[in-house]
């Protein structure tokens, strides 16, 4: 069964901003799905429409075969949302916030207390249960929103940048937690600007830009598209100008390091031979940042060219 299927989704905000220009998406039950895209691409707008926070202009949404237009109650009962912006009552205590959310889904207080304790302990917030939300740190607030989103045991969990501003250790533990609930059967859709996060968690991925899906595929086949690798070379002696390296594209980083693009088919032996012959001594070699990031930039740039072409 499809956990989510979106078709022909359009959104024009009052004021005229076209946030979505006909989006089609489909997410299988049990999937861990990444929705990526640059700032302002329309990710939060799409999520807002799916979760009833934003009115759509056109299109249709089905969640576990319930139609949002004809059976919104059933759709809402299936979904848990971790929004991008904090949206709890900052004067309410942490545990109250989770319990109230359970209440809105009709879960009796006693049952809700059991679930809230479990979630708050798992997300390391139990010590803060009596603290008002205002006094939590940024990372704690994010985790509070995760606990709140899960208290009614949704079949589909949607997280809009859940790890923004979260430290590395907590981020890793959040990843473990999300993998665990995904393994237990919860379908997860996640947006993030940390591409290594998407790479490490998600099986399928869609990239959205200017309100359009520009890529919708499995993480594996996306990574397979990576043709070029970027290496950073640290140099023993400072250089003033880039050496001439025919066949390779090199960029100056600073006087003690340079970046080289290497085609997958090319290999790096020849590169080192040339460097040696020019008397350049390399002290270390590392892979530049995230490969997925490169691809992402590439796709978004392509998309931008396409849309300027079609506009012209």
């Amino acid at each position: 069964m499809k956990a989510l299927s979106v078709s022909g989704l359009h959104k024009t905000y009052t004021g005229g901003v076209q946030a979505l220009n006909g989006i089609d998406l489909s997410v299988d039950e049990g999937d861990f799905f990444a929705l990526l895209g640059p700032n302002g691409a329309g990710k939060s707008t799409a999520i807002g429409i799916i979760t009833s926070l934003v009115n759509k202009s056109a299109g249709s949404i089905r969640v576990f075969d319930h139609d949002l237009d004809t059976d919104p109650t059933a759709v809402k009962a299936c979904i848990g949302l971790v929004p991008q912006e904090f949206n709890f009552n900052t004067f309410e205590p942490t545990r109250e916030i989770v319990l109230n959310q359970a209440g809105y889904y009709g879960i009796p207080r006693r049952e809700a207390s059991v679930r809230a304790e479990l979630l708050l302990r798992e997300l390391d917030l139990w010590d803060k249960r009596r603290e008002v939300a205002r006094n939590l740190s940024g990372g704690m607030k994010r985790r509070l929103m995760i606990a709140r989103a899960l208290v009614h045991r949704p079949r589909l969990l949607i997280l809009d940048e859940p790890t923004a501003g979260v430290d590395i250790e907590i981020r890793r533990s959040m990843w473990r937690f999300l993998r665990e609930i995904n393994r237990e059967g919860t379908t997860i859709i996640l947006t993030t600007h940390y591409l290594e996060e998407a790479e490490s968690l998600c099986r399928n991925i869609a990239i959205i830009d200017h309100g359009q899906i520009i890529e919708d595929t499995s993480m594996k086949s996306l990574l397979a598209k990576l043709q070029v690798e970027h290496f950073i070379l640290d140099l023993h002696q400072p250089i003033d100008v880039l050496p001439d390296l025919p066949g390779y594209r090199a960029h100056w980083v600073d006087e003690l390091s340079m970046e080289v693009e290497v085609d997958k088919a090319q290999g790096i032996n020849e590169l080192f031979a040339m460097l040696t012959s020019r008397g350049i001594e390399v002290t270390s070699l590392r892979n530049k940042s995230n490969r997925l990031e490169e691809l992402f930039m590439h796709l978004v740039e392509q998309g931008a060219t396409r849309s300027t072409e079609s506009a012209a």
């Binding site: 926070l53 949206n87 009552n89 959310q101 209440g103």
Partner: protein, 257 residues
Amino acid sequence: MSPREILTAFQTIVVKEVLRFLRIWMQTILPPAITTCLYFIIFGNLIGPRIGDMDGFDYMDFIVPGLIMMAVITNAYSNVVSSFFGSKFQRHIEEMIISPVPNSVIILGFVAGGVVRGLLVGLVVTLVAMLFSDLSLYNAWVTVSVVFLTSVLFSLGGLINGVYARSFDDISIVPTFILTPLTYLGGVFYSINLLSDFWQGLSKLNPILYMVNTFRYGFLGVSDISLGTAYTIIVIFIAILFLVALRLLRRGVGVRT
């Protein structure tokens, strides 16, 4: 949602609303007690004796029901308008919007919060009043039913105001420019029998007059208007405001983009 789930959701909203105003009791419960204390001292004790009788009662005894009603109206209204606007402003209204709780239950939950605040403040003011005059009930049923219905009506009004409000200014416009004048002109401090025919006629267009008078009837057994008319007017207003509120929430006015 099943009826039991709906009841759970309703209880959740009510408890949340009540806790909200209790947490800030210095802003919500104390001020009306102090204000009415001042009214009682100034109008009841200092000026009242010089005024003499009003509709055959001590001036103090005459104004007590009106002052209680005034506190109930203001507090029921302002509780819901500030709570609803606050939940839009801080965006936690989204917690309810994404959940399956029906719009009518959201409305009833907020309204119940306003009713509890209105009645609680009404009770506090009544206790204060007992220090200044010998209150006795003429008809408890009338007193209780009319104060309850009135707080429902103004809670709904506050909700609708909260839906439309875009800034903190917007939540004080209606109370300042409509509610307070109508209350003062609604026979809290005088019997409309003192007025000329024209002004009496005009006063009878003011719905608050009917509530204040019915409530006063519950205490004193006198009223400038007929009780039947009063109840009819109040119930019609409640029905209209409820339907308006429901329509606004359905369309997502003020909460959905």
